[in-house]
């Protein structure tokens, strides 16, 4: 694991107030609130694992803790869960869907 990846696992991320998510049936849909008009391509469909991760991004839990929850919940290998988590958070960061948690103290 690279140092950057390790750093990101140690960080906590918070869902941006500019995104709202809803589970409808088996689909979990994220809708951005920012922007002038409806860019329908900016609406995201999350799979089960991604939706679970999204709900864990509360600004308090570190990436390591979220990955541990994924491993426990979905019975996947830790290395695979870390890789998926980092890719997913990277996508969320690109879209402005998450923000770094404010450091306490």
């Amino acid at each position: 694991m690279s140092r950057a990846a390790g750093d990101r696992l140690g960080e906590a991320w918070a869902r941006s107030a500019r995104m709202v998510g809803r589970r409808i049936g088996d689909e979990y849909v994220l809708v951005p609130l920012a922007g002038r008009g409806a860019d329908l391509d900016s609406i995201l469909n999350l799979n089960r694992v991604a939706a679970f991760v999204w709900e864990q991004l509360d600004g308090a839990r570190s990436g390591t803790q979220v990955v541990a929850s994924v491993v426990e919940r979905f019975e996947v290998e830790r290395a695979r869960a870390e890789q998926d988590y980092l890719e997913l958070v990277g996508t969320f960061v690109e879209l402005g869907a998450v923000e770094p948690a404010r450091r306490r103290g």
């Binding site: 409808i24 049936g25 088996d26 689909e27 809708v31």
Partner: protein
């Protein structure tokens, strides 16, 4: 770019039927007539954008307007306006222009601009861009607009009996979940308000610009003991002229809009509502806080339904 609609038997029947509905709306007629009486001075020049049957153009002429221009896109209504003006004895002062209200070209010569371009959801008939253009091109300095402002008013309501989600003989949780995210018309008889209405947004048509988006609207309501909210009703308020107001909550041909929500816990409690009324980003969020820690929060938007349907089209199927 679509031009004015071509005449046909179906268009004639549809246009006349709709105008009948408007002309039978006594509350609407009273309010607009009062507004014209307040605004149209003898010798005034008046522009009616989207004139329909021509009732307001002809009424303005009878109130003493020197010149009235009635702009109407429906070819089949042009002879109707002419007949109304002729029988009222004002045909010499009413000019009929067949054109789209948002594209018509005229001089800046009008003291009053009327535009009854208010839809059930207030702005879907192009009220803001048409009035912005009218202000900049047709209205004389100091002239008056009818209406001069339009507002959105909301109140939490009980779930309608006919929620219309799926047929009772063929229930479908997946279809019901989708339709919860889609606004629909609410018949006034179904509108059982659980709190007084609150104005969410007021748009001043004397200054409104089409390029500006409607602000995010927020309101807090107190829900009474034992009452459960099943949706948010939104209706339109209009300031037509000083002393002439109109609301579409009931008793008019307009219908309020229901923003459905999944049933909330029973009151008493406080309900915070947030609504983005911009058509391309329509969204509503409810946050209920009741006694004994009863809380519920949810977001709704046709964009969520879009996400679900898009995934289904891509091969997942709906309700898989």
């Amino acid at each position: 770019m679509p031009g004015p609609a071509r005449p046909s038997l179906a268009r004639l029947a549809g246009a006349l039927a709709y105008q009948q509905v408007l002309l039978a709306d006594a509350r609407r007629n009273r309010a607009f007539r009062r507004a014209l009486a307040a605004r149209v001075r003898p010798g005034a020049s008046v522009l009616d954008l989207g004139a329909g049957s021509g009732v307001w153009a002809v009424a303005a002429a009878r109130l003493g307007a020197r010149r009235v221009v009635a702009v109407e896109r429906e070819a089949v209504l042009v002879p109707v306006i002419a007949a109304l003006a002729r029988e009222a004895g004002v045909l010499d002062r009413v000019e009929i222009v067949r054109a789209e209200a948002r594209r018509v070209r005229l001089k800046r010569e009008f003291d009053v601009v009327i535009g009854e371009l208010v839809g059930n959801e207030a702005f879907e008939e192009g009220l803001i861009p048409v009035f912005e253009r009218a202000r900049s091109l047709f209205l004389r300095p100091g002239g008056a607009l009818v209406p001069e402002w339009v507002s959105l008013v909301a109140a939490p309501v009980e779930a309608p009996l006919r929620l219309g989600l799926t047929p009772p003989f063929l229930p479908s949780a997946s279809v019901a979940a989708l339709t919860t995210h889609v606004p629909r018309n609410l018949h006034p008889a179904e509108l059982r308000a659980l709190a007084p209405g609150r104005e969410l947004v007021r748009v001043d048509l004397r200054t409104a610009r089409a390029a500006e988006r409607l602000p995010l609207a927020r309101a807090r309501f107190r829900v009474g003991n034992g009452r459960a909210v099943g949706g948010i009703a939104v209706w339109v308020g209009m300031g037509l002229a000083p002393g002439a107001r109109l609301a579409t909550r009931g008793g008019t041909h307009w219908l309020p809009t229901l923003l459905p929500v999944e049933p909330l816990p029973q009151g008493p409690g406080e309900l915070d509502v947030e609504i983005d009324w911009n058509a391309d980003r329509r969204r509503w969020a409810v946050r209920f806080s009741g006694k004994r820690g009863r809380r519920h929060a949810a977001d709704y938007s046709p964009l969520f339904a879009w996400g679900v349907v898009r995934a289904a089209l891509a091969g997942g199927g709906l309700g898989k």
